[in-house]
Amino acid sequence: MNELKQYFYFLIIPLIVIAIYFLNPADIFVNGNELSFVSILISCFMIEYFIQKSKNGEDIYLRPIPAMKAMEEAVGRATEMGSSVLYVPGISGLDEIDTISGVIILGHVAGMTAEYESDLHVPCCVPIVMEAARESCKEAYLKKGRPDLYNDRMVHYVTDDQFAYAAGVNGIMLREKPAAIFYQGKFYAESLILAETGNSVGAIQVAGTGSSSQIPFFVTACDYVLIGEEFYAASAYLSGSPEMIGSIKGQDYVKLLCMLFIGVVFLFSIFNYFEIFTFDMMTLFNINITN
């Protein structure tokens, strides 16, 4: 019965929704977005399936990610050295998923600093991020039973300008000499300026960003880097809740599906090249690719 229910929820329902989208009754759906719709739907149902599995008690293995283990070590090191922890949430607003992920990870880092009783310093570039970061830190300190250690000044506004912000944060690094620095959020050209200064003060640095062009700079200058999806999985990993961990497994299966599709597209390209058969897969999804 349970299996039947699962088949219904995770196979029949998505198929029905996809069929409705393709039939497009009364022209209620946008034409041309079929591929996006199908991929988002399949991915979401796959993630949901593993969340449910994990909730039902299935043991899920997560490979250890060094950067996430290093987060606690870095905070511990800062406590031992009597220095502060600097957390840089990037230079974008809350309309960027990277910044949201950065603020979520900040909550976990704030929990660690509350536990270890070390100082936390969060300079913000966007005022709305400052407000969210404050709320996140306040809650983390409360959860750890140390609201007395929290003060509003630990999360403060610096400036909106990219390089003025980099100068401000560099100043904080050089004056305070933090023992641990976290860069988690959306970064642009200032990433290397920040990471190199952090390196010069001898801090242990943990970076994470979704800006693919900035990852090489962080890899060069930081001790640990959350690359690609690791950055988005960090909050789920750190929370340790089965629901969140299930979503990571779902995400990995979606990745496997992507790899299979890449293989299929590669095969079709070879067939097309040798003119064994000339079938354009994109016609399946009403997408016309022009050269």
């Binding site: 603020v103 005022p127 996140s136 300026i193 999806e229 988005y232 999985a233 789920a236």
Partner: protein, 271 residues
Amino acid sequence: MFIKRQLAIIVMMSMGFLALSGYFLNFPTLREFTDKDAPQWYMIIAGFAAFLGCVNLLQLHIQKVTKKQENWQYSIFTLLGFLVMIVFGFIYKNVDAPWGAHLKDDGSAFYWMYNFVYLPLGSTMFALLAFFVASASYRAFRMRNFEATLLLISGVLLMLGRVPVGAIIPWWVVLFMYISFIFAIIASKIKDKRIFFISFLSTNIIGLVLGTQLKWNITAPLFLSIPSIQEWIMAVPATAGSRAIMIGIALGVLAQSFRIITGRERSILGD
């Protein structure tokens, strides 16, 4: 408590679903909301937060100066900069242009400060990046292991391929580089240095003779041209690597968005 917890989660979830459905549903009103109205709402909220940011900045630095906390002297400069820009923006404009328009008027004090103080300072910070790139490259290019050596070689080839001098490097130099690289890899396997030297030398001579016979000095094959190697590195291994990271990022964004929209990820609300 309801406003801070449940209502916030309801707003977060419903806005997420609305934004997503605006992309797929053929309702112009919904599309207009997701494309125009919602970003405008965000801008309005961000505008209010900007005021809070300014208040926070002033509060923090005034407190530092009045209590003479550590490094309070720097705060004086921050406060001065803040006040000067406010005066030039709202009180003193130095031109006849109307308020607001004076911000873009060549003769206004605000414009002068922006052009000759603010912008050069930003450019100075940006220019510092060159030195940071140099120090980071030095660290990255140290030959600690095989991967770092590969990075160094591809880095050198890229740099050479992107400058005019790269195009005039003859084919036999590139051939010599290839042979040297192969012999560097197998060096540890050959114990006798004499055999190693003789085989290295003879391979180079054979390569030179073969290349001359094949008239590579007239038309060199692509794998012996530095600009072509550079193009290949950028188009094949670099693109493959960056695409793999991009796919990972896209999947990460999707899973994170799913967790937020379904209300499972609530840490952003301080929960």
